[in-house]
Subunit: 336 residues, 2 copies
DNA sequence: TTCCCTTCTTGGAACGTTCCAACTAGTGTC
DNA sequence: GACACTAGTTGGAACGTTCCAAGAAGGGAA
């Protein structure tokens, strides 16, 4: 904590050159003589000089920062996505401003405003609860890439998602292949992702001639929502031998409810989730699930966002990645 | 995406006043006439004006941003800490720049450099793997608050931690109170937190006259580390009836190993963890643990950091918060 | 010697704010 | 009618960079 933070002028004075040359040298221009380069570098090092990003951003008219809005930090899939996001952003010299949205819409707005004031060059949204309208409005000011959704359109909006319907079908077909027919579905509530996963469930059931066995219970993507939904399921449809649950977190709640009702997973009751969150594959849980390539999705999102930043007004991009069945310990053939 | 981002000059022109007055009005000065205030506000709204944080930061000589370094996003306790951090930072009008450190020391340096270039006014570290020396060096440039550790000193370093030794003693005393005596400990590897928790274990065992039963296996704070350590434990000390594990994540690994070895938790083998990560309290896991007030720790850290930023050169602060025994389903009296 | 070309270097303007000293109009006061 | 206030308002300087047009120094070619 020296008296004053050294600026480019201090470095220039110490190296005996002009501030302009310091600026050039520090950014690796090839028009600087070897001698000056050396003098400048050692002066900078000696003073502990750090370029001021705000000044650079102002002069440059670009911030080299992207904003990330994560609506719910407590769903661990976000951590994995963020891993990918941060990696690619860092590799490209971009800073990442992460903001977690509150449930409160007013505070959400002010958090978004803060991001935009920072002149982020683009935004990554990981937010299934944000309305399409809000997103379109934001995209009016800044390019946006949305991860895990593809239901928003706009001139500056790209999406990275997996094919939720296809993933859901894979899950259900797997249960059917094990011999199940009384397969229930616990949804994730009122949002596009849930609707798609439910659609995939229904389609797969119908395709297998199991139309009569379709049984859907409303959940909400949370552990306790899954628990509640499963209890409801066991009351209303006790013959069910398996459940396809809208996401991993609520699948864990379903497993707990199954255990409470005296059902052993997987011998009495099979559970398959969706997402592929890292914790679900811990040995203790060992959840069978449809695994999204989360880290990869984070990577792709940043790559796409940076592409749009550097070349605006290109056609919209909607990347769909493949999700895979992750075999683990919570599914087995029905016992009867 | 209009042609040009409106600046304070555009607003001034539109409202028919000077840029200085716009600046005053937008920051809520009381020396602006009601009439001007109104004209300025509506001009700003109409143009979709957003203040440029970089310019402000430059003129102001402060960035209103704090940096957060999280070394491992995959340990879910960080999500909870971050919740508290973001909340208090936001309430005080501060932006949060979150960076996840790579294992790679070189990249870590460049990530830190990027934070410092952003002129963050202070840093929050959640990083048990960072060397004390590195931290002291950083704190030379900017105030630092460290969460979950208290082993670093420096003029500008404050710490928020829980009393790991005390927490560990609580855990062990609880097991003893249930009737256990053959209590093993799985450590978290070579770092201060682990050493403190091990010390607490040893002290509690000795205090209860169980010196002969002390049995320590090296772990590493991860799920798989816990799994491996537990298998080692069951081989070297099969009579153990309980384990105090250095953190929740590895406690889950221990539980998996117990199950694999045919031990039922908690009837055959009791497990108690440390941290209180949200996922461990899911019904399916229901882990007994020592719960740190993680969100609160995040809050306190920011509060302390902001205090030091506004009033530097005050004596160092080391806050110790209390951790509590969280009763759940993985501990029971020994069966024999 | 003169002139042109490179190669390196430079000071000034600009970026969008905030701060400051100073200015203008009223409004009272005597 | 002069004076001092007060309430609003203003332009210019500053913040630490980058960019740009232009300058200095040295080397060849004529």
């Amino acid at each position: 904590m020296a008296g004053h933070k050294p600026t480019i002028h201090d470095v220039a004075a110490k190296a005996g050159v002009s501030k302009s040359l310091v600026s050039l040298a520090l950014r690796g221009s090839d028009k600087v003589s070897a001698e000056s380069q050396l003098a400048i570098e050692s002066a900078a090092a000696e003073l502990g000089y750090r370029p001021n990003a705000a000044a650079r951003s102002l002069a440059d008219r670009r911030s080299r920062a992207i904003g990330v809005l994560v609506l719910d930090f407590n769903n661990p899939i976000f951590a994995q996505i963020l891993d990918g996001v941060q990696k690619v952003a860092g590799e490209n010299g971009y800073n990442t401003l992460i903001v977690t949205g509150s449930a409160d819409t007013v505070r959400q707005e002010s958090e978004l405003a803060r991001l935009l004031e920072f002149q982020v060059e683009g935004l990554i949204l990981i937010a299934h609860r944000l309305s399409a309208e809000t997103i379109t409005r934001i995209s009016d000011e800044r390019p946006v890439t949305i991860i895990t959704r593809n239901d928003v359109t706009g001139a500056n909006v790209d999406t990275i998602s997996n094919d939720d319907q296809a993933g859901a079908r894979i899950a259900v077909e797997y249960l059917i292949s094990l011999g199940h027919s009384r397969i229930a579905h616990v949804t994730g509530g009122d949002n596009q992702i849930s609707r798609d996963r439910e659609k995939g469930y229904r389609d797969a059931m119908i395709a297998a001639g199991l139309h009569d066995h379709i049984h859907v219970i409303e959940g909400d993507f949370t552990d306790s929502g899954g628990y509640r939904a499963a209890n409801e399921l066991f009351a209303s449809y006790p013959e069910a031998t398996a459940a396809f649950v809208a996401n991993d977190l609520s699948a864990l709640g379903v497993m707990a409810a199954a255990a409470d009702s005296g059902r052993n997973v997987p011998t009495d009751f099979s559970v398959i989730g969706y997402d592929g969150m890292a914790l679900a594959s811990l040995r203790t849980l060992n959840l069978t699930t449809i695994q999204q390539p989360l880290v990869e999705m984070g990577r792709l999102a940043v790559a796409q966002l940076l592409a749009r930043i550097s070349t605006p007004n290109t056609p919209n991009v909607s990347v769909q990645v493949d999700s895979q069945l992750h075999l683990a310990g919570t599914c087995a053939p029905p016992s009867k």
